[in-house]
Amino acid sequence: MQSITYTCTDTPEAALAAFSNAGEGARFIAGGTTLYDLMKLGIETPAHIIDVSDIDGFDAIETEGDTLRIGAMARMADVAVHPVIRDEYPVLAESLLKAASQQIRNMAMVGGNLLQRTRCIYFRNGAGGISPCNKREPGSGCAAIGGLDRGQALLGASSACTAVFPGDWPVALIALGASVDVLGLNGRRTIPVAELYRLPGDTPHIEFSLTSDEIVTAITVPKWPARRSTYHKIRDRESYAFALVSAAVVLEMQGNTVLQARVALGGVASIPWRATEAETALVGHPLTRTRALAAGRAAFANARPGQHNAFKLTLGPEVIADALMIAAKRIA
């Protein structure tokens, strides 16, 4: 790991000033659980680290008004057990509690978690490693294509990159149509969480639509009835593992008829994946297991499996169907 400077700031103005003064190679850090991990692997090589985790007030959770506003520096463990989030937005609470371990949830912040990088084994193989990776070293190739691709994407991938976005929380947030407030040298802006992520295309090394001077300051979730929601996550072991397939679902129902459905997927796509085909297959129909499974299949209609991940064509629709049935049983 190359030598770094470390600056801890307590106001957003100080953080931006520190970023400007630091020059080349400056990076913001919050909990650091992704950045520091990848620094140890030689994949991230910042020269200057500006710590924004202690900025005053950036960890507040506000539930008044017509949006839920969650400070980006709130810790995953705290957001997961906030009474309003736990009771009114089970999909959010579950996505946090089924991610990482309690130790990491105590460190990682909900803003930084949006920017978690892929767990693709070839990406993590390290700088100078034997496996080429277009995300790590643009233009070097992709060892995952035709390689061990059990964990690679079936949706959204390109001929340059099949890495999966590994997170859970952003999947739940896009199901709810959440946005992020961003602060940078050019001021503030608000963008939908879904627009944070870029499909790999020919430029898999450009993953997010943020510039390096921008800090996520808050996440806003429009308030709508979300008690009939769940985050269903299937893993290789029951806890503390990344998703093989996960589904965030939110249902609005009248009797047994689906009025509105939101479905998003984790573990199978290059970015947190909104499954609009599944939603369309549900709206206006009575919810049965058969209908739910058909919706699940619709979500994978355009999936392109590799050598070792085709099992997700079967597993995926089942996970979506189970998630829908779990959510539907909940009292609105």
């Binding site: 790991m1 030598s3 770094i4 400077t5 470390y6 801890c8 850090i29 650091g32 659980t33 520091y36 991990d37 620094m39 140890k40 680290i49 710590d51 985790s53 463990a77 990482a100 371990s101 309690q102 130790q103 990491i104 105590n106 460190m107 029951e238 806890s239 503390y240």
Partner: protein
């Protein structure tokens, strides 16, 4: 808090074992650490083939090397570890785990994977469990750190430590300090109310010997004990 630690504030560049535990106390407690024994073994093996340099003959106090030189950019941090003030210059890249093990000679927290995947390095920062391998040491400036060394009251073990012994909750013991620190936090968080909950909230601590049955029982037992104390 352990009375084996000095109570007065440490000096700047406080980096030696002698400031955490003075030599007399340590001689009584443990004549020679495992690390020193290993180091000495290497040295004696080497010295059988090499002429012994004069400094080696004079240096009779093992584990008290001169002021540590840090190779990169450093940052000054002031923290408390197991109640003892620590004020040191540390490489900005260093993890809390490396600070504890390499600078403060608190080797309870273990380096298993060094990537936050195994939990062997679990310690508490401001009473909350974290993996110290993914915590930049610089981040604990102004915060309070507790390690497994800070749990016992002299010879009286923390209920969680005692429960791990009572339930045979280990085989090799490498993950145990992390399990114990995570277990205490699990109880304090209110996540030890059932075996199912304990298993879920202890999933960040891997035990390759597979002592999980004993670990869950130990935490259930300690939770009762901690509730009563």
């Amino acid at each position: 808090m352990s009375n084996e630690f000095q109570q007065e504030p440490a000096q700047p560049d406080d980096i030696q074992a002698s400031e955490v535990m003075n030599d007399d106390q340590r001689a009584t407690f443990l004549p020679m650490t495992r690390r020193e024994t290993l180091g000495l073994g290497t040295f004696l093996t080497a010295s059988a083939f090499l002429p012994m340099p004069s400094w080696a003959q004079q240096n009779t106090t093992l584990g008290t090397s001169p002021t540590r030189w840090e190779p990169g950019t450093t940052t000054r941090i002031a923290t408390r570890v197991n109640g003892v003030p620590v004020n040191i210059n540390i490489d900005t890249r260093a993890s809390l785990l490396d600070m504890l093990r390499e600078r403060l000679e608190l080797v309870g927290a273990k380096k298993g994977c060094d990537h936050g995947q195994c939990g062997a390095c679990t310690v508490h920062v401001d009473g909350r469990r974290v993996v110290s391998c993914l915590t930049l040491a610089a981040k604990v400036d102004g915060h309070e750190v507790t390690t497994v060394e800070g749990l016992s009251d002299g010879e009286i073990l923390h209920p969680m430590q005692q429960a791990f012994i009572d339930h045979d909750a280990l085989q090799c013991g490498y993950c145990t300090p992390g399990q114990i620190m995570a277990g205490i936090a699990c109880v304090n968080e209110g996540n030890a109310m059932s075996p199912e909950l304990i298993r879920e909230y202890m999933s960040g601590n891997i035990c390759r010997c597979g002592a999980y049955v004993g670990i869950v029982r130990a935490i259930e037992d300690a939770a009762r004990e901690m509730g009563e104390s």
